[in-house]
């Protein structure tokens, strides 16, 4: 049976699409799933560094599409989980190097080899977005609880509905419990109410995410981090498990004094 194709998208840049893709890819691999993460951000690849696999790349997705290598050669095996692969973007090309039908073909071929194919969509709603969402069975919309990113998320959801693309689920990223409590940040319920799609996860702001990405060891691998726990839960929900939403936690006084754990 072919694996499920899931595209991570947002409209707005910088909300955490690539971080989410890396963490969900690893999170699913940790649960024993076979996963292929495709970096669809041609020209601005970053999923490789998030996953800590940048030194292992020989071929990329454009090399494969243009017939310069085999599919397996364009798949970089993860050093932690042998069933996790990255298909890197080409760094010296642009979005026009891939057509909608190219990506459809690659995604479906990858789905024959894996339980989950995660496609990290580029920001925007142009060509790169279109070829990323077309093959998807499910689109995960990543948003931050602030006006601009929720607005862009709504645009993407509207496009998905108008074009009859895959259903969308929401991940609210970078929520700050302190600010929500003080009434200075949109809470998850308001964002959900406005966007009117189903919620897959809430990930709170956590300095461990930056520390983890500096090292190429995504936060999902960190048993003690709050965001890591949230990503592990999202991965389980993706597999259909019924995992309750974790309550928002403020950092403890010690964590505040010493910074990140």
């Amino acid at each position: 049976m072919a694996g499920k194709i899931i595209t991570i998208s947002s409209g707005k840049g910088g909300v955490g699409k690539t971080t989410t893709t890396a963490n969900l890819g690893l999170g699913l691999a940790m649960l024993g799933e076979r996963v292929i993460c495709i970096d669809a951000d041609i020209g601005l690849r970053n999923l490789d560094v998030m996953l800590g696999l940048e030194n292992r790349i020989v071929y990329d997705i454009v090399n494969y599409i243009e017939g310069h290598c085999r599919l397996r050669q364009a798949m970089v095996r993860d050093k932690r989980f042998p069933e996790l692969y990255l298909m890197p973007a080409a760094q010296t090309r642009d979005k026009n190097a891939i057509s909608v039908s190219d990506m459809k073909r690659v995604a479906h071929e990858a789905a024959e080899l894996a339980d989950y194919v995660l496609i990290d969509s580029p920001a925007g709603i142009e060509q790169g977005f279109r070829y990323s969402v077309t093959p998807a069975d499910l689109v995960l919309i990543v948003t931050n609880p602030e006006v601009a990113s929720v607005r862009d998320a709504d645009r993407v959801i509207g496009l998905l509905e108008a074009e009859g693309w895959a259903p969308a689920q929401l991940i609210i990223n970078r929520i700050k419990p302190d600010l929500v409590r003080r009434g200075e940040m949109l809470d998850a319920d308001t964002v959900l109410d406005l966007l009117a799609i189903s919620l897959l996860g809430i990930v709170q702001e956590d300095p461990n995410i930056l520390i983890a990405s500096n090292r190429g060891q995504p936060v999902v691998l960190d048993d003690h981090s709050i965001a890591g726990q949230s990503f592990r839960n999202v991965a389980r929900r993706l597999r259909g498990e019924d995992v309750p939403f974790e309550p928002l936690k403020s950092p403890s006084i010690l964590q505040r004094i010493f910074g990140a754990r």
Partner: protein, 90 residues
Amino acid sequence: MNLLNRLLRRRDPSGQDIAAQRLRLVLTHDRANISPGILALLKDELIAVISRHLEIDAEKVQVNFTEDQRETRLVADIPLMQARHRRSSD
């Protein structure tokens, strides 16, 4: 000072409320693909058309969008002058 600021600020709508309000408006216009300017124009034209047939209280006309989940409707609230007239002519 800080405490005083906080106490004073409590009377204003919170950042959360302002963000939610602004988002609600901007999403409504985005979804309907109609700018606030066009909506004002539409309102004026509605008033003009309806005034040809009915006497309405143009000042109190309200034309707005309402949202129910992802469904948007245009709702026009147009009070008629009729009732008041009848009373005054009695």
